[in-house]
């Protein structure tokens, strides 16, 4: 079994290696990279890449766009998804079952089908290259609705029945009782949404065209495609764009894992 463990550790090193290399390379100079590509450890801790990244690219803007896009879609999606999920789980109205199955069915359709027509719609709305164009189509997710609905179904009916007897309106019940109860599920969903949209490449690539509106993945890719590439700067940009998720992962790992693990139980 020692051989198996050695293999597992070795493979683990392979998993981490690109991140380590990315970080270390960001501290090297361009000449160093060209003359000694095989070297892992930088000769000295050269911080210039982390200074230049802000001027070589509109990096601050890219970072802000990612925050607005990922943060905006997450917050709005949590609100809309939980409202819809609560309605589907608890409130009776005509068409409720039909609506639920429609939501479920949309999960089956791959995003490539809707990408081109949605691009057309966003174009017609004059929302191309804008924040609303990026966020609104993503402002709700069938996956989120499904996940939260499954959660709300498990909440005992006595809770909202008691609240209604006390005279609370549906909105009050949703906001003051249901949402707090759903905090773990909401946290998991929030992490999932934020991670997915922070890392998303194709959607922002399609919707944005000016460098000022690009998000981090798309912006970095375009910079990396130019003729003279400042590799250390590129690696610094990659490191900075990874940092928020990496930090969140270190402190709240279970939320990252939970979202993915529970989808398996579905």
């Amino acid at each position: 079994m020692a051989a198996a463990m050695a293999l597992v550790v070795l493979l683990g090193a392979f998993m981490i290696f690109p991140f380590v290399w990315m970080l270390l390379t960001s501290f090297r100079t361009q000449q160093e990279i060209f003359s000694n590509p095989g070297n892992l450890i930088p000769a000295a801790l050269n911080w210039s890449a982390y200074v230049e990244i802000w001027s070589e690219l509109p990096f601050a803007r890219l970072f802000l766009n990612s925050v607005i896009f990922a943060g905006g879609t997450t917050i709005i999606s949590l609100l809309f998804d939980s409202l819809a999920a609560y309605a589907l789980a608890r409130l009776t109205f005509p068409g409720r079952t039909f609506a639920f199955y429609v939501v479920l069915a949309t999960l089956m359709v791959p995003y490539q089908i809707t990408l081109i027509p949605v691009f057309q719609t966003v174009f017609d709305l004059h929302w191309l290259d804008t924040y609303q164009g990026l966020i609104v189509p993503r402002a709700t997710s069938a996956f989120g609705i499904f996940l939260l609905r499954q959660f709300f179904v498990t909440v005992p009916r006595d809770l909202d029945a008691a609240a209604r007897i006390d005279g609370a309106g549906e909105l009050r019940i949703y906001w003051s009782i249901m949402l707090p109860l759903a905090r773990p599920a909401l946290a998991t969903l929030a992490v999932f949404h934020f991670m997915y949209n922070w890392n998303d490449f194709l959607w922002p690539l399609v919707i944005t065209s000016s460098i000022d509106m690009r998000t981090l993945p798309a912006g970095l890719t375009l910079f990396g495609g130019q003729f003279v590439v400042e590799y250390a700067v590129l690696m610094a940009g990659a490191t900075i764009s990874l940092a928020p998720l990496a930090v969140a992962f270190l402190f709240a790992q279970r939320y990252f894992v939970q979202g993915i693990a529970t989808t398996g139980i579905k």
Partner: protein
């Protein structure tokens, strides 16, 4: 304020209003940006549709007929199939073995699980930039390491024979942790007495693995396989960033071809047809997988 009935249920009218109101924001967005586009997409695929033209002539199934005769489409399909077959079994089996070894609660198992999961949380497009750099023959380390080991340095991403294998490797790097996490969760739900009974019956580790472990997590195994296949058929980010479908279309996949047709050539109708063929393929393969599983599930 709503009046309540004896059972604590709100008046019917109020309930109706709330339910539909709550559902409204999501319903509107799903209708406008999911349901209508699905219909629109199929409609587009029946036309010679270019986004910037006012008139879109109806062509019936001509786009699909053109696809059948398009060598670039078949090349993309073949590459996508090869990629899927090369990636999924390795990903699932490796994920399974890792899950078996690492599903305990000890600190090193938890640490290693985090290590394996870390690539999953990163942006694939961004890490593909890093990988492109790593594999580069000019400025990347792999070339000099191969030389140091006495081997011929290879420019992986620009060599037709090595480009797709390189993409496969990077995809495995990214996704094995995902499979592992799902299977660890499944393994942790397996009751201990099953294994203990097998040990009492004299089964060795391998026999326990085959006859107890694998069957008890077969649902999670099926789920993770289906997900992995669907994701592989949709591969895009790493291909676009690392090779753009090159060299010489050796890594062009269905979605990169679709993207190029839709957003470089602006042939929206043709791109939509590619998307529908992809959808059909995904449905077909998923159904086959589920069917095969049902036949083997004889309990």
């Amino acid at each position: 304020m709503t009046l309540v009935t004896r059972e604590g249920e709100p008046r019917r009218a109020a309930r109706l209003r709330s339910g539909q109101l709550f559902l409204l924001p999501s319903a509107v967005i799903i209708c406008v940006f999911v349901l209508y586009p699905i219909v629109q997409s199929f409609w587009m695929s029946l036309h010679d549709w270019s986004m910037f033209q006012a008139v879109h002539p109806f062509v019936g199934m001509a786009n699909y007929a053109e696809l059948l005769g398009d060598p670039r489409f078949w090349n993309a399909l073949r590459n996508t199939a090869i990629f899927t077959v090369a990636t999924v079994p390795v990903q699932v089996i490796t994920g399974l073995l890792l899950a078996v070894v690492l599903s305990r609660a000890s600190w090193w198992a938890v640490f290693l699980r985090s290590v394996y999961f870390f690539p999953v949380i990163s942006s694939f497009a961004t890490m593909a930039i890093v990988w492109r750099f790593l594999l580069s023959a000019d400025v990347g380390p792999t070339a000099s390491w191969l030389r140091a080991a006495g081997l011929v340095p290879i420019d992986f991403l620009h060599t037709t024979a090595w480009a797709l294998p390189a993409i496969v490797l990077v995809s495995l790097w990214k996704n094995i942790g995902f499979t592992m996490v799902i299977l660890v969760a499944a393994l942790q739900d397996v009751p201990e007495y099953l294994n203990e009974a097998a040990v009492l019956d004299g089964a060795n580790a391998f026999q326990r693995f085959v006859n107890v472990t694998v069957p008890s997590i077969r649902h999670a195994l099926l789920f993770t396989s289906v997900i992995a296949v669907i994701a592989s058929l949709q591969v895009f980010d790493q291909v676009y960033v690392m090779t753009r479908g090159g060299p010489l279309f050796h890594t062009e996949t269905l979605v990169t071809y679709m993207y190029e047709q839709g957003f470089s050539e602006f042939r929206s109708g043709y791109a939509a047809a590619i998307a529908w063929v992809l959808f059909l393929l995904i449905m077909l393969v998923s159904l086959i997988q589920l069917r095969l599983f049902r036949y083997s599930d004889v309990d």
